[in-house]
Symmetry: C2
Subunit: 316 residues, 2 copies
């Protein structure tokens, strides 16, 4: 079951208006990094993410790191809409790895990340399972600014990414810091016109952003921030470091756009801690998603992110 | 890993004050039917529940019924605190049963229940898994009254339960209707002094309520509403129908208490649709949880609910 195709099927059904909240107002439905519901005067963000043993982590991974990752994924999604995390719940089907000590370490990892980002674990559900352990974390948050969505980019906008990309399979996929301060800055300052977190790989997530914004994009090969891990990974694969930076999943960096007139303010006011890199710009609808090589030639950006699993078969 | 012992470990850690929301106020933490967070002027309910193939449903169960159940469990928890469901997200690790058609039916079942109770599915996450399918549903809601908690019962309060108990394994565990209208009535009217949904079995859930309220209880054997399914189940086991009504899990009825001076108003104003039965009353702290037989003799109520799995090894 492809994640994208099933989500598209769900979104299509949703568009039919099958269901609306009885007690709230739906502001952002399925298909963005978080859902946004109006409850009274509050805009509430809601996101769930699931990690599965053997898919998102190896059986030998530290339980504490697995807990961190399970929580950090949802917080990264909130960051990518400029939502402030408020509270989290965790549903755990404990199979392999399992046992009481493993479960306690898992919870401590959830708590490590939750505490760091102000989103305590306020409840949960546990069941025993005969297969791989599954951890589903849901986070609620609120906004003190307008949500920054995948839609909102316009032709001419500059395209930026935080941090460095690729090779997260070598360890960073378990220990990354969600870009919460950065996402909140982009929302509160009004500088972010569109945003997504890079979980499926830059190429795939740029495609999502372009589709939701109904724009094209050109990225500059020379400007893609390639991580040391991508270079290290490339030494062990037949791919170039650039390919890893473009295609590997689970970077959990922020990919965002800024109006051309705001570029100077962005670069002047950028608070960090992650660095940003301008990697390209948005183009007219229908002009596709291109990558410009160092010689100036443009070619289509191949979709080399993967729905499930890295090309090398590792976790994502 | 016992569910209760791990939850107790988590609550103990939580009591140490490890983490508090940065952007909200924690009103009710782990250990009640839902968590309650203050976001701005809103009180927001948050609950997650997980169902696992082979534990909570048989592999041959209808995917649509599994979806219904996965959603209805969380809504039942909201009902038990008088929260109004507003939106839901579903995290699915799709293993066995699986496949695209099964996943679509699962989603339709989630949607059936979500629509009926005004809590649309606004997002989700999917992953493939090699083991049993796991479905984790999280629901947010709001309150237009004070939450009704497990704590709040006082000695002298009358003890009531909705519907009929026992034998849900014969089918009702997949198709039950959460007692939302009933829970909201008990909250809005101010009549419910404490409440819990009966998911682990009457004996176990009464124990939870007594512990949180720091009271004892006496229930009347003759007043326990025994379902036809409990009688049918008893014909196939060595237990009495009463034992099934006391011990079987997954009734998803509401167990609640009412001040003695309010009993007459409760019975006069009760709106249904589920019927209620007065099954006993609350007693002084330390007097234990007793059951009074038809001859008037009192004996301790044995804890015969189970953390995972019915005594007959079926789903719960």
């Amino acid at each position: 079951v492809g994640e994208l195709s099933l989500i598209e099927w769900i979104r299509a059904r949703f568009a039919e208006g099958l269901s609306r909240p009885a007690t709230g107002k739906l502001i952002v439905g399925p298909g963005d990094d978080v859902a946004v519901i109006g409850l009274g005067r509050e805009k509430v963000a809601l996101k769930t993410d699931v990690v599965v043993a053997g898919v998102h982590f190896e059986a030998g991974a530290s339980a504490r790191a697995v807990g961190w990752k399970a929580m950090a994924r949802s917080i990264s999604d909130l960051a990518a809409t400029a939502a402030m995390p408020s509270a989290a719940v965790a549903a755990v089907a404990l199979g392999e790895p399992g046992g009481r000590a493993w479960a306690e370490e898992l919870y401590l990892g959830l708590e490590d990340c939750a505490r760091r980002y102000g989103s305590p674990v306020v409840g949960g559900d546990f069941a025993s399972a005969s297969g791989p352990t599954v951890v589903a974390v849901s986070v609620v948050g609120r906004f003190d600014c307008e949500p920054v969505l995948r839609k909102g980019a316009a032709p001419g906008d500059a395209l930026y990414v935080t941090g460095e990309l690729g090779g997260s399979i070598l360890g960073r996929h378990l220990s990354f810091e969600p870009r919460l301060a950065e996402g909140l800055f982009l929302g509160r300052s009004g500088l972010g016109s569109a945003m997504i977190d890079v979980s499926d790989g830059l190429a795939t997530d740029l495609r999502h952003l372009c589709r939701e914004s109904s724009v094209g994009a050109v990225i500059e090969e020379a400007n893609i921030p390639i991580s040391d891990a991508a270079r290290k990974r490339a030494a062990a694969t037949r791919h170039r470091p650039l390919d890893h930076a473009l295609a590997d999943g689970e970077d959990y960096e922020l990919l965002f756009t800024v109006r051309p007139a705001e570029v100077e303010r962005l670069e002047r006011e950028w608070p960090g801690p992650a660095r940003i890199k301008r990697i390209g710009g948005m183009t007219a609808p229908g002009s596709g998603i291109l990558i410009r090589g160092s010689g100036g030639t443009e070619r289509p950006l191949l979709l080399r992110g993967f729905e499930h699993g890295l090309p090398q078969g590792g976790p994502r």
